[in-house]
Symmetry: C2
């Protein structure tokens, strides 16, 4: 029997045209792509009842040059622009349409969908690239005096409408110049970096510390969000991010030793102690403030010894979801150290994962199935350990013992290596799907162990109640007290509006079921409308009290971020 | 040669008389004592150039019944007292001299010295024992309305003038009734307890969880400050405490999942998530607020599996102080998990420690000396590991390897067992010394590794510049980025004033050398005068902004705590 080549859609393989809308909304590197493989493509067609014909012609791809509508004029006067130019130089101020739109846009799905339709809302009046903290102090002071809104652009990878300058004003782009190392101490295992340093540059510096800092050892920053390649240190901290290895290294908040934040009320430079009992820790006031209190200009972070050779990879298949959950809880509470990476997928994500890992339909798959791990019920768990050699091995052995104790079978480390290859590239798949009018989006929440299943059932139930909608769920950040739940959905929507309504329904389902409004994406302007009910009036008043203190004129990322100034939303 | 019985001073072996000053200032259990052993007594005489005659007659022992001077009248009206009685019952309100003084006093050395002299300052007008959170809400609301100061008494073990109700008012004693478990979740490994639960009751509940909560496992709270037996959970959190095992379990702040705080501006009950990206974490605003924002009524804390059988004890003798420091830094940065307890002593503390452990002058001592560990230079390090069996062993083996790599020799686990026997009893020695006009006191600071020696040299230099003054120093809480430095001094002072001046000079030396004003004792009213210079005006303004918000009328622990209201100090 001759095997015919399968049909493959014309996935876009060309870089966006410079200056186009696509060059703004496309994820990541202009020449970076991740196309669905044949198995995933088949699955999508089957699950969403689509045919090859649906993938014949892509929809709007946003290749047109950016041109802002006349109703988006420069809202700050020439005098202000001239001031910024005089301060930072002509080359560091942009007021052209493309720059204004680019730096006003994050990577929220609804932003991408709008840009595809040339729909541009919430655009800054000018873009300024400060050269250093002193520039930021000058700019914030001037803008405060003249009531010009200031929004900070780090990596631009927000998926919560974290940018979206509702009131226009100035965007400060920190990644252009403010990406230097200010201090490094091997003795203290700390590094002080400017806020605009991007993840890969940071990690590369630390991995190659012997070359850069004349150290005896290599180091790692330990922070690897999926947006790693297009995220900044400032963004990690100010949006309370987590990374794929945060179960071991800690969330972004935990990495901070001290912060230096420029606010309209002055500059806050906190102390550099590993711990102190000198009143409430003021750096904590800023973690998660999402630019509403001030601009983080630099931070001193904890770094870690880098020993990648000690990594032990594992992959287990569990009989079912509750087995997997019980196992990872046991791991997280086991008092033997944490794995550096750990992820368990529910049955639907497992089925798709096995396709992506190239296991589905193979002899291995048949073997697994024959051993009683039933498709549609079985769940996969992957991870790896790190640290000192014997420690890493000890953690691995404990995990293996626990997983086996919960009925799991080892699938070797192969799937983890596959996962590692694509750990930062999965977001690229969005453009391919969007090109053919499919929407993929993600929402996440934090839960204690006893609330995991109720939140999972409620949120997944809501998503699956929509016909022809894929819902993949996993847990990927672990604490002795709970975990995060991460939902990925894929579907066809008749309009952006119907997608947004559905997506907001997921946030409501999370809130109603008692999950956190976010585990690591942040709140931005997207989840902000839920904040009052979520935190309650007393806690919102405390956040607003600090807002009023640090930013009395309401110029810092105004327009609803965190729900602090909803009246002007 | 016949050995004569050595002279022994008449160390006090009788419990304080009920209602006496001594019953207030004496540390811990009324019938608890720790007398200097013969070797330590000899050492004290030698080091301080004293003779047996100096220990013939004790000074004032504070055995007289408490009687407040007429200039300390009840400052709140009978109407207010009647209100409190109507609210909580007659049995839960005290306005007698003894109760007022007892619950207005912490364990700061200068408080003890003053009480010995019947000198009573800063006394509350009334003592109220709230029965539950609702009582606290009522009382705080009433006091806010009537501008009556409110100070919270937890375990009463503050050594920073944390109580000391400068403006009088009401003391809320939480340990009397508010010591219940409100919730327990084995699945989440959390417990919700009222603020007034004492350390031993808490730990006993958790160790015996199978009996109390029908759990499958035993648990530990992991928090063991030296004041353990006379400290409360509320105090641990609100003063940012640390314990002897915090290097492994985390500082008090790290144990908190959520807090419930009653403030004049309303009740703050934070969310119970292990981590969340929903704006600044509001529970962090209260950690270390030392009662100036509100009353912590209950908290949900992380608990840990209790596996004492896995404990591995170790003790090493290092050639010198820098060897010991380098070793513990290497341990803290080693990425193999942390020991549960670890402490290195400088040469002076080592010399005294070897006397206390009964090693000094023995054959073992001669052997150690012969091996090149010279008295006066050598330094001792002790500790133990915990957790899962293989993990604990792995940590131990790494520590052993590192210590040996820094020239240390193992002294077996014996000194650790000795230390464990007296881990909470050392403070009892203060009364014996004070009885004979010797003063012992402690101050601590937090340092990064690169600042350890400069701070040590400066502070120790200051202490040793005073003639005939013993100074023992150790590090006992470890982080990859640094440690705490703990100074103990003993000397004879001609007056309380001269002692206080000298002690304040130590705080100045710490501040001037760049150490933190406190690592885990807190600030209270003692270090408060240094806060403005320490944090700077911008950070103090942020703390005062929250003070104004939560406590607009300045009734919560007023009179200078944390330096938030210095104008009324």
């Amino acid at each position: 029997m001759k095997k015919t080549n399968p049909h493959r859609p014309g996935w876009r393989r060309t870089t966006p045209i410079e200056g186009s809308y696509r060059s703004i909304f496309k994820w990541g590197a202009p020449d970076g792509f991740k196309h669905p493989n044949d198995k995933l493509y088949s699955f999508l067609k089957e699950a969403l009842r689509m045919t090859d014909a649906d993938f014949d012609q892509p929809g709007s791809q946003g290749d047109e040059p950016v041109k802002l509508p006349p109703q988006a004029p420069v809202g700050i006067s020439d005098r202000h622009l001239a001031h910024f130019i005089a301060l930072v130089g002509d080359e560091n101020v942009n007021a052209d349409d493309f720059s204004r739109l680019k730096y006003s846009s994050g990577k929220t799905t609804e932003e991408a969908l709008a840009l595809r339709r040339h729909h541009a809302v919430n655009i800054a009046d000018a873009v300024v690239h400060p050269r250093h903290a002193e520039d930021v102090i000058e700019i914030v002071g001037y803008c405060d005096q003249h009531r010009i809104p200031v929004t900070t652009y780090g990596g631009g990878s927000s998926v919560t409408l974290g940018l979206s300058p509702v009131k226009g004003g100035v965007i400060l782009v920190t990644q252009t110049h403010m990406n230097r190392v200010l201090d490094f101490s091997e003795k203290n295992q700390t590094i002080t970096v400017e806020c605009g340093m991007m993840g890969p540059a940071y990690e590369s510096l630390l991995n190659n510390a012997p070359d850069h800092f004349d150290t005896g050892r290599r180091y790692t920053g330990g922070h690897f969000p999926q947006s790693f390649e297009y995220s900044t240190i400032g963004g990690w901290i100010m949006a309370r991010g987590s990374g794929q290895q945060s179960s071991y290294y800690g969330d972004a908040c935990d990495l901070v030793l001290s912060l230096n934040v420029v606010t309209p009320a002055g500059t806050i430079k906190t102390k550099n102690f590993p711990s102190a009992a000198t009143g409430p820790a003021i750096h904590d006031f800023f973690k998660g403030s999402e630019g509403t209190y001030g601009v983080l200009v630099n931070a001193t972070l904890r770094i870690f010894r880098h020993m990648p050779k000690h990594r032990k990879r594992f992959c287990f298949i569990f009989p079912g979801w509750t087995d997997a959950i019980t196992a990872v809880r046991d791991i997280s509470q086991g008092e033997f150290g944490m794995p550096s990476m750990l992820r368990i997928s529910d049955a639907e994500e497992t089925a798709i994962g096995l396709k992506q890992f190239g296991i589905d339909g193979t002899l291995a798959d048949m073997f697994i199935t024959a051993r009683g791990y039933k498709p549609g019920i079985r769940c996969i768990g992957i991870g790896h350990t790190e640290g000192e050699k014997k420690f890493s091995k000890c953690v691995y052995r404990n995990i293996r013992k626990i997983c086996r104790g919960h009925g799991a079978m080892s699938l070797t480390g192969y799937p983890v290596r596959k996962w590692e290859q694509s750990r930062f590239s999965d977001p690229y798949i969005r453009e391919d799907l969007n090109d053919f009018n499919l929407i993929i989006d993600t929402l996440e929440t934090s839960v204690t162990w006893d609330n995991l299943i109720p939140v999972y059932d409620r949120v997944r139930g809501y998503i699956k109640s929509r016909p022809l909608t894929i819902c993949m769920t996993h847990c990927s950040h672990f604490y002795p007290q709970g975990t995060n739940l991460y939902f990925i959905f894929i579907g066809r929507f008749e309009s952006s509006r119907s997608y947004i309504d559905f997506q907001r329904g997921i946030i409501s389902a999370i809130a109603d079921s008692g999950g956190a409004l976010s585990h690591h994406h942040g709140i931005g302007k997207m989840a902000a409308p839920w904040m009052d009910a979520y935190l309650g009036p007393e806690q919102m008043a405390a956040l607003r009290c600090l807002k009023k203190h640090f930013d009395p004129n309401g110029i810092m990322n105004p327009g609803g971020t965190l729900g602090l100034d909803p009246e002007i939303h």
